[in-house]
């Protein structure tokens, strides 16, 4: 609106106070926008959840299928985090330290999971590992069920969180002082000792940041999991699918407890991340 307006005031003070470009107005717009779009919806959900007292919130959470969906979500996310920390760190290491054919392809496509819609992710995994494919049939004839079972959930979570650990560790590895490693090696430390004493301490905050980001993405993941999991209550139904089911069957009250639990989980991870960031920054200083 006022951005293009001609100033009637003198120029200097107009730039500062006269129009929409003034710091105060900009700040009011920014805070208003974030407040209206993010804080207000969260507040509305919280008031709705806690408004009737803790008793009714606990009632919606106490149902066995609700509790089970939360437990499954956390266990699946933790399983994903373990694999992701190992493979993500290894991927970052290999991409930074070695040269191999196909390297730039891998480096570019690492970000693909951020770009591919989650529904498409789920579909791709079902096509390859599902009961209708040769790979899926081979696996299930050997007693391994992937799709419509728990391994499929972990696989989907691994796909959607693939970039987090890699992209968080890569810059740290790149900036790592090789002289420290060489000095340690000269002093007689073998590769394993160098890795443990020199490399691990310097990349640990970045690894933990990647792990926390993956975890928070995983506990809320919906699109890919709803397609690969089969969504059987008390077996393969995760928290986000439980919430979806309750809302679909017109029982938002039942969705409140699990929603608040997921919201609390996300908040906790955000707080943890800002602590990690502070540790990383104080180490740089």
């Amino acid at each position: 609106m006022g951005f293009g307006r001609k100033n009637t005031d003198t120029r200097g003070s107009a730039a500062r106070y006269g129009d929409l470009g003034s710091p105060f107005v900009l700040r009011a717009i920014a805070v208003g926008y974030v407040g209206l779009m993010i804080a207000l919806p969260i507040l509305a959900l919280s008031v709705r959840a806690f408004g009737d007292g803790l008793g009714s919130l606990w009632d919606s959470l106490r149902r066995p299928d609700a509790l089970y969906s939360l437990e499954l979500t956390v266990v699946m996310a933790l399983a994903m985090v373990v694999v992701n920390v190992v493979m993500g760190t290894l991927t970052a290491w290999v991409l930074i330290r070695y040269r191999f054919p196909g390297q730039s392809l891998v480096n570019t496509l690492i970000d693909l999971p951020f770009a591919v819609p989650t529904v498409v992710t789920g579909l791709m995994l079902v096509i390859l590992y599902g009961p209708q494919s040769a790979v899926g049939r081979f696996l299930s004839s050997n007693g391994v069920e992937v799709i419509y079972a728990k391994p499929g959930i972990v696989l989907a979570l691994l796909f959607v969180t693939l970039p987090f650990v890699v992209r968080s560790v890569q810059p740290v590895l790149m900036g790592l002082d090789r002289e420290m490693e060489e000095a340690a090696a000269t002093l007689g430390a073998n590769r394993w000792v160098v890795f443990r004493k020199v490399i691990v301490p310097s990349i640990l905050p970045a690894v933990l940041t990647g792990a926390a980001l993956s975890f928070s993405r995983a506990i809320g993941e919906f699109g890919s999991v709803v397609i690969v999991a089969g969504n059987i209550p008390m077996r393969t139904q995760v928290a986000s699918v439980f919430i979806y089911g309750e809302i679909e069957s017109d029982n938002p009250q039942g969705a409140l407890g699990v929603s608040v639990a997921l919201l609390a989980g996300s908040l906790l991870v955000l707080i943890l991340l800002s602590l990690l960031q502070r540790i990383g920054r104080s180490r740089d200083a």
Binding site: N7, R11, G12, A14, A15, P23, L26, R27, I29, A30, V31, Y33, V34, M37, I38, L40, P41, I42, A44, L45, M87, L90, T91, W93, V94, F100, G102, D111, L112, F114, A115, V116, P117, T118, V119, V120, L123, L125, I127, L128, L155, L158, R191, S216, G220, F222, G223, I227, A239, S240, I243, Y244, I247, P252, A255, S259, L262, L267, L270, I271
Partner: protein, 294 residues
């Protein structure tokens, strides 16, 4: 040739080369090559093979069939709807995202830390919970919903709610890409422009926008690609009424659950190609920025 590749892989490491007497096999199985192999296998199993399987799926289920299902009115409506929502979300979030970035990069105020933290919430929150929040807020009995309801405007299970949910999910992208660029650019040039008599808008257009344009482009790409593929949040607030509030992703979901694989595969491929192009654009932007920094 083969020999060359193997020893190239080995020499990249800081370790001395193994003595010439050792067998080639031994070197090929050295830790470097084992690690590279593990990563390549991992990446293929997780990303490349599923991607290839989907492309093959489109052709296996009949290319003509896939094209026909893409041309159906329901599919076309879903894609146009997704495109429209994405365009609106990108415009709104670019406009406000730049303002929020300017405030975060250039101003100090009480509560800034909290403001900064709240801004990241859409990244951390489950899209399903995000959709649920908008139902609570804009539903018939919600704080804001009852006002709109009284005015005869439907937000939930209608287009406005879907746009709002998409805006929520993609809100931080532009800001998060622009803030570091603004911080690095500093304020010297803007101050100089202002001293020379430029007003706020002129300074913004001539100095600030050119210096943030790559970061802004990157943020817009992220916003658009996320908005195109958003599923959970929009599904919850839309009710997914076929031919009315069904987006491209919920069309795919529907086709898949109805066992119409040809349609689901074809629509998935279109979305995947769109996100791939977006990714390539982002890669080009990133190369440009790194090239300039060096």
């Amino acid at each position: 040739m083969r020999e060359n590749q193997v020893s190239d892989g080995g020499s990249a490491a800081a370790n001395p080369k193994p003595p010439a007497g050792r067998s080639r096999m031994r070197r090929a199985l050295g830790p470097e090559n084992l690690m590279i192999g593990a990563v390549v296998v991992w990446f293929s199993v997780l990303v490349l093979f599923p991607l290839g399987a989907m492309v093959r799926g489109v052709f296996d289920s009949g290319f003509a069939d896939s094209i026909r299902s893409l041309g159906s009115p329901v599919a076309l409506h879903a894609f146009w709807l997704t495109l429209g929502i994405t365009v609106v979300a990108v415009i709104i979030n670019t406009f406000f995202g730049v303002i929020v970035a300017l405030v975060l990069a250039r101003q100090r105020f009480v509560g800034k830390l909290l403001f900064n933290g709240v801004l990241d919430l859409p990244f951390a929150l489950s899209p399903v919970v995000a959709g649920f929040m908008f139902i609570v807020l804009f539903g018939p009995n919600g704080w804001l919903g009852r006002w709109f309801e009284a005015g005869g405007i439907r937000i939930i299970f209608a287009l406005p709610g879907m746009v709002l949910a998409t805006i929520f999910i993609t809100l931080p992208f532009v800001t998060r890409e622009v803030v570091p660029v603004l911080q690095e650019a500093g304020t010297e040039q803007e101050d100089a422009a202002r001293t020379l008599g430029a007003d706020g808008w002129q300074t913004f257009r001539r100095i600030t926008v050119p210096s943030i344009r790559w970061g802004l482009g990157y943020g817009v790409c992220l916003t658009a690609s996320r908005a195109l593929g958003e599923f959970g949040a929009v599904l919850i607030v839309s009710g997914s009424v076929i031919g009315k509030t069904q987006t491209a992703t919920s069309y795919i979901h529907q086709e898949f659950t109805d066992f119409h694989y040809a349609g689901a595969f074809a629509a998935s491929l279109v979305l995947a190609v769109a996100s791939f192009l977006m990714l390539m654009t982002m890669e080009v932007i990133r190369r440009r920025v790194t090239a300039r920094m060096e």
